[in-house]
Every structure is written in C-alpha cells, then in structure tokens.
C-alpha cells in the first residue's frame, strides 16, 4: 500500500511549514505529498512563496507532488486561485467541485476526502473526467470502501482512505476561531495560528468531542487505522492518507510503512503511535459502521 501525506490543514508559520516539508522530503517514506491550502484562502499568502522550493525538494526526495485546492470556494479571488492552480503544471487535488471548471478536459487530477464520492456512479463520473486517485470521505464504512475499491480497479482509479489525523468533519463559511475570539472572518487577526493541531472543544461534562480549525471542524480524536491495515488491504485499498500534525510525522510515516509492509504487527504499530503522543485519543469507528469517535482496539 502506498502512503500519501495529506495537505497541511492547520495554520503553521511559514518557517515551520518549510522546515516540515524539508524533513518530509529527506526522510519520510511516503510516495505522494499533497501540498497547499484547503481550509482558508486567507492563510495562503503567508507561505505561498515557499511552495516552489518545497515542491522541488520533495521531488528530489523521490516524492510525487500534488497541489491541493480549496475545500469550500465562495469568493471571486478564491476562484482565481483555482485558475492559477490549474496552470501550475502540477497535478491538482480537487476538494471542491468548482475546481473541475478550471481543469481542461482530459487533464488528470486527484480527488480529496472532502468531495462526496459515495458510489460507483459518482466514481465513474470523476474517473471519466480524469480522476486518477480518489481519497474517500472518512465516514464511509468497509462495505462501501470495498465496493468502491473494486469499481476503482475496473476504472483504473486508485482508492485511498484516511488513516491518521484529526478527521475533517465539516466546513462552514463562518470562522469558529474568529467567533470564539469575538471577531468575524474578515477581521480575524489569524487567531487560528495559536492552535497548530486545532482547538479542542469539550462537552459540558468535560468530555473531549471536536476541535475547531478556522472554518473547519475536525474531530478531537486522532483517526488511526494502523490496527486495521489488513482489512483495508483485503478491501482493495491502494493508499493511506496521513494528515500532518505536530510531533514526529516522519516517525508516523515509518510506523505506517512498517505496518503496511507487515514488518510490524497492528498492536506494535498502535503502541508506537501512542508512544509518540500519549495524550492523544485514537478512533477508527467509521470504518466499522460505528460512531466515528469509537476506538475498537
């Protein structure tokens, strides 16, 4: 199984961003890296000029680079961003169907986990338009994953699933980080940069539940499929998506690589990941038709 490093969903400083990708380029055993802004177009200007260097370094490190597009497009300047991405010369990951309007017919592209690919009909439509890989919506259960992987094999389109990191659950036009700070999205002062993994949201009983990342809501728990790779492999999944967080993502990738190659077993992989950040809660419920927050191991 291949490993994909998903796009950075959080607001990191340009230096942190560059350093992160330098290390990934040199050390991480991943085949593909998706790079760029998915969550908030206001963040992009801060690191946009670092992208070409990161791309080059990653390619020299033997990684396939794909540029990520925005997850929710409403503004005129955001539509222009999509046009620029289409002209970049690199393959693009579609996260909002608006992007399809800017891709020349016949251009190949990948599809990210924010696009609703729930059935063979939709997969077929996107494959015919040029989709080479589709990362499925994280809420899909194993039955759907299996059916879609089989359909993908017939279409020549690879199927990827979310395997590590806080789960993207919803996006809004309203910025929840700004709202907490008593601000609006237009005058947000980029307060989301204080939370490099998102800001945890708890219930009134003090139970961790969700996390806020600007306009995006993610799970408080870290999805972790390291204990379920055999089933994913049997289902026909071709690639796993690891979503970047603080901590040693290179080691995360190494553990998934070792587990996917069956050099270590599922329990060892889970233990290794837990040791990296013992305070983090894991979950894998979606795959088994349970609530996403559940952890079956």
């Amino acid at each position: 199984m291949r490993l994909t490093l998903g796009p950075m969903l959080y607001n990191w400083s340009a230096d942190q961003w560059s350093d992160f990708y330098a290390r990934i380029a040199d050390e991480a055993p991943v085949e593909r890296v998706v790079l760029g802004e998915v969550v908030c177009s206001k963040r992009l200007p801060f690191y946009q000029n670092r992208i070409p260097d990161a791309v080059e370094r990653l390619q020299r490190g033997g990684k396939e680079v794909v540029l990520a597009s925005l997850g929710l497009v409403t503004l005129r300047r955001e539509r222009k961003m999509l046009a620029e991405l289409a002209e970049s010369g690199l393959p693009v990951e579609v996260n909002d169907l608006t992007m399809l309007r800017y891709l020349e017919p016949g251009t190949q592209f990948t599809v990210g986990p924010l696009v609703n690919v729930y059935n063979e009909g939709t997969l077929g439509f996107l494959a015919n338009r040029g989709a080479t890989t589709v990362c499925l919506p994280p809420e899909l259960g194993l039955d759907s994953v299996t059916t879609l992987a089989a359909a993908g094999a017939r279409l020549g389109t690879g199927i990827e699933v979310w395997a590590f990191g806080r789960l993207p659950l919803a996006m809004s036009a309203r910025c929840y980080h700004a709202r907490l700070a008593g601000l609006a999205k237009d005058s947000c002062q980029f307060v989301c940069d204080a939370d490099p993994d998102g800001l945890a949201v708890e219930t009134l009983d003090g139970q961790p539940f969700l996390a806020v990342n600007g306009v995006q809501t993610v799970s408080e728990s870290w999805a972790n499929m390291a204990g379920d790779l055999d089933q994913l492999s049997d289902a026909g999944v071709g690639a796993l998506r690891l979503s970047p967080h603080t901590g040693d993502m290179v080691e995360v990738a190494r553990l998934f690589r070792a587990a996917a190659d069956q050099r270590i077993g599922p329990d060892e992989a889970i233990a290794g990941l837990a040791a990296l950040a013992p305070e983090r809660r894991f979950s894998n419920g979606f795959l088994f038709g349970r609530s996403g927050a559940e952890w079956t191991h």
Binding site: E139, L167, A170, R174, A293
Partner: protein
C-alpha cells in the same frame, strides 16, 4: 407599482401536511419517499409511492407543483434504490426531482431527460462556477443556494448564471456546508449523506439531572438547560460546549431562520423561489408558516410592504436570526 411573483416552496412531511401547505397557498411543495433516499428520513415521516401519486394529483388540481427530494448520496452497491426513486417520482407526475449526488444527476439526466432536475442544497454549490458546472453537465434548471451566502453574494451569483435560484427563508438553519458534514456520524454512526438523518432521534436521550434538562446525542452531552428555559433538540452544531476557556454555543445558537424582512432584497437579488424548511414539522406548523409567507409574497407582488412576522412561537429558541444573509454572521 407591482413587484415580482416569488414562488413559495413549502415542506410536506406527510400527505396531511401536503394538503395543509397547498390549502394555505403554497405555489410548490416538496417531499420525499419513506426511505433513505432523502435527507429527512425520520420515523413515521414521508410518502409511499401511492401517497406521492395522490399528493401530486391533489396539488396539481389546486394549481401547485410538487418536487421530490432524492438528495442523499446513494450507497455503493445499492444505487438501484435511488434510481427507482427517480423513476417512481417521474411516473407519479412530479414536477422536478431535487438531487445532490453527481452519479445520480448523471443517471437522471441520461435516463429521465424529460424530468426537471433541481440541484439540492446538499450539493453545496456556493459560487457561479460550481452552479454552471452542474447546469452545463447535468441540465440542472434550478439551484437551492447553500445557507452560507450573504444577500450581496446571492446578487452576484445571479448575475453570472442562467439557472433559477431558490433560497431558504424560514426554518432550521444548517451552519456547515450541507451534504459535506460528518458531525452526526462522528457521534452516532448515522449521517445526513448516508442515511438521511442528522442528530437522529434514535440516539437522542433527555434526562432531568439536578433540576436541569440534559440532552445527549450518543455518548455526548449536547446541552443542559434550566427548568423553564426553552428545550433544545440536540442538533450537534447547536449545542453548548467549552473551547478556549469559554463556554457557549461554539458553532451556532439553537435558533432558526426567519428572513421574511429580507424578501424584498432577495427578490431584487434575482431569487426566483423562497424555500421554507420543515418537512419534519406538523401540519399546524406548515399551515401557519405557509399562510404567513404567502401573505408576504402576495404583498410584494402587489407592491405593498411585507406584514410583520408572527411566527416566533414556532421557532426553536423562540427567537430567530437572519443567518448568513447578513455578512456579519461569519
């Protein structure tokens, strides 16, 4: 001087509610089949095939149209269920189907070219490019705009598209991009996309604890209210939580939309149809809301001011908001 005639699109959760809506002056009603093909798949709600045919006949006799919502995302390996729903809606004489899924739109366009296709709010088409993509690719004739746009944005969108736009003016608010939200399945395993339910009743528990009414969804406490405060339904995004040292409604207050006062501006923005949310509500709600909004649209058509809304008692939180139509909502 007279104004535009806006089409009032009204919810019909049951045949009785359909008749109530039509009798109260709905130009159009929308409904769904009693299965997972629509996003209000609640127990005891929706129409059998026969009930839909009877409802269409009733509405057409009164000069009203009927739209059938087939707006969930077909399950892999079970697309046939959704294909049959489209075919049956067509056979029953529905005036249009409301669809969100790409694959289902492609199927409907190919197999039922004569059946009008509306784009559901679940497709989250929030800009002219996305709308034109659906219009050109699938022959969609109308789009229900996501509830995340301001009036200014709606005006701009209408300038750059050829299809009709329909906007929500009353009822429950969805604050996330619709059709793209997994909050419910994260807490319960059931989602609007896959199962047609959000914060499903099957996972809702109310208990009285220490003089407070506690509402839970699955394992998670969503809200606690004092004895005499309005009781909320534990829709996740309307819950009370703690984040960053603060406690409150982190995502949205448990209130609903009443944009009656904005109808003249929405008309100027080029909107063709006004949608009332509430297929899960009773025929009493439908009758009262439709009557009130029909008065409003008639007033606009006659060039008179819109009468004040008296619908506060029907809204959650007993108060209302203008939602995203005011830009400060963000």
């Amino acid at each position: 001087m007279t104004g535009p005639v806006l089409e009032l699109v009204c919810p019909a959760g049951t045949p009785a509610a359909l008749r109530a809506a039509v009798n109260a002056g709905a130009h159009t009603v929308y409904c769904g089949f009693a299965d997972e093909t629509n996003a209000r798949n609640f127990p005891g709600l929706n129409f059998s095939r026969d009930e839909l045919a009877a409802g269409v006949a009733y509405a057409h006799r009164a000069g009203s149209k009927v739209l059938v919502a087939i707006n969930t995302f077909p399950r892999a390996g079970a697309e046939e269920l959704w294909h049959r729903a489209v075919a049956d809606a067509h056979a029953a004489g529905a005036d249009a189907v409301i669809v969100a899924d790409l694959g289902l739109l492609a199927h409907a366009a190919e197999r039922h070219p004569g059946l009008r296709r509306h784009l559901s709010v679940q497709a989250a088409a929030a800009n002219p490019d996305a709308i034109n993509f659906y219009a050109e690719t699938f022959g969609v004739k109308r789009v229900v705009l996501p509830r995340v746009l301001s009036v200014e944005e709606i005006t701009a969108i209408n300038r750059d598209i050829d299809v009709e736009t329909e906007v929500f003016v009353f009822g429950g608010l969805c604050v996330m991009a619709e059709g793209r939200c997994s909050l419910s399945s994260y807490a319960t395993g059931l989602s609007p996309n896959m199962n047609g339910v959000c914060s499903p009743a099957s996972h809702v528990v109310y208990t009285e604890e220490q003089g407070e009414l506690v509402s839970r969804l699955g394992d998670f406490t969503i809200h606690k209210v004092a004895k005499d405060a309005p009781a909320p339904y534990p829709t996740l995004c309307k819950g009370c939580f703690s984040a960053g040292g603060q406690t409150g409604h982190v995502f949205e207050d448990p209130i609903s939309l009443d944009a009656a006062e904005l109808i003249p501006r929405l008309a100027k923005a080029g909107v063709v149809a006004l949608k009332i949310e509430g297929r899960q509500r009773s025929r009493a709600y439908v009758a009262a809301v439709v009557k009130s909004f029909r008065r409003a649209t008639d007033a606009i058509a006659a060039g008179r001011p819109v009468p004040a809304s008296e619908l506060a008692y029907l809204t959650e939180g007993q108060t209302s908001t203008l939602g995203a139509y005011r830009k400060t909502w963000r």
